[in-house]
Symmetry: C2
Subunit: 249 residues, 2 copies
Amino acid sequence: MEDSDTVLGKALGILRAFGPADSVLPLAELVRRTGLAKGSVHRIAGDLVRHRLLDKTEHGYRLSGGLFELGMRAAAERTLLEVAMPFLQDLYERTHETVHLGVREGHEVVYVAKIGGHRQAKAPSRAGGRMPLHCTAIGKVLLAYAGEDERTAVLSAPLERRTPHTVIAPGLLRGQLVRAVETGVAYEREESTPGLLCVAAPVLAPDGLTAVAAVSVTGPVGRFRPESHANAVRAAATALGATLARRRP
Amino acid sequence: MEDSDTVLGKALGILRAFGPADSVLPLAELVRRTGLAKGSVHRIAGDLVRHRLLDKTEHGYRLSGGLFELGMRAAAERTLLEVAMPFLQDLYERTHETVHLGVREGHEVVYVAKIGGHRQAKAPSRAGGRMPLHCTAIGKVLLAYAGEDERTAVLSAPLERRTPHTVIAPGLLRGQLVRAVETGVAYEREESTPGLLCVAAPVLAPDGLTAVAAVSVTGPVGRFRPESHANAVRAAATALGATLARRRP
DNA sequence: AAAGAGCGTACCGCTCAGTGGAACGCCTTC
DNA sequence: GAAGGCGTTCCACTGAGCGGTACGCTCTTT
């Protein structure tokens, strides 16, 4: 799906052929998804196994633990994760709902952490996973604090309708972003996933103008009242921001 | 440090040149660590940047978020992590000490998760990081439930002394392993890091004979009494084991 | 100010690693 | 028993990758 004229490109193509859903893919499927020659996929996959990026099972290939280890060394997300963990922990303990930590990556959110208990609302989000900016609470917060150019770029592109509640009117969304900056929190009400509500607050950089990340609390329609957690989320996010600022003088 | 005759090998060499400690490395340092030609490192690093595995900063290269995303797709650790999270959460809430989840990878532990609060004892462990088997509570548990051949392999090799308390006598360690199987928990008392104590329990496969992972609670010498958390750790680990068994019929 | 060291970048001709089409054997499925 | 899908192996061609060389830059040193 990308440029596959270099060995590295092909290898990455194979690795990225694994969607968030699939755990083990047979060779033929990899050939199909990557569009590469069967022989090439066979050989490269073999190399990847040798390098502990893939595991070869009876039924095909699987992303290996070596990849996990490598990914956890990524500097930015790792330090963010480590510093944030205590605050996320506090937040969870106070709310006992699913807690997310996310950063912006282009026009999407990438979740850096997701913690929750047994009775958590089953959200499609996963650590390392992505979501559109416009239909999630974290996304809205991040978008609200993104540069004006980024914001208009997102708002002028067609906004994908994920559920009947997804806000796809740019004007409406822009209003929500303004309110997010004013109030320090953004909400999502079944806009990305039916049955899920969410509050998010920004983790601001020392300048107070840009968001380096965002924290959210998610819960199911019914028992969950996002507004009642707004303060907790805001507190966690600002505390995290202050701690991050203290680390990098 | 590995085989670097294939492009992929060189690329991996570059990525793995990043130790857990360093966040940004200049080109020259990568050349030094990998032993590759300067031109090659330059070109490959450029390719890696293009593929979102590296970021290029003012002061050098840095492992990028793309790597984090990719690593989080690793099937085994991801599902383990997701299923385990609620149990780890419970355990943390009950103890308010640092909680670890680890799996065995060769003769080392790989930590899949690490959660803790503000007052956590600062351990050198990190998610995605490694530790020797013989000097950690999780390692001992995993070793106790490993195959007999694996166990003797570890015990017959010289055991690295990490601290004055590290158990390096194979007989002594073997005794601890036997006790671990009998009691369902293993302990570590400043054997990997001065000032740290730890209790761990195995997450057993349905057969009840092999451990798929291990859970631990860590705390500082002084206030922390590992024995008093043995039951909580054991409970969390067995509950997790039961849940995992239910998922794969 | 000049010399030096270390850095990132750019160039380029040689060559062998990587390529992908073809063919094979092994399974199901129809 | 034909047909199709699968994983694997083989092999001759070729251009991607290689690494030595060279340049410009910014510091530090003398």
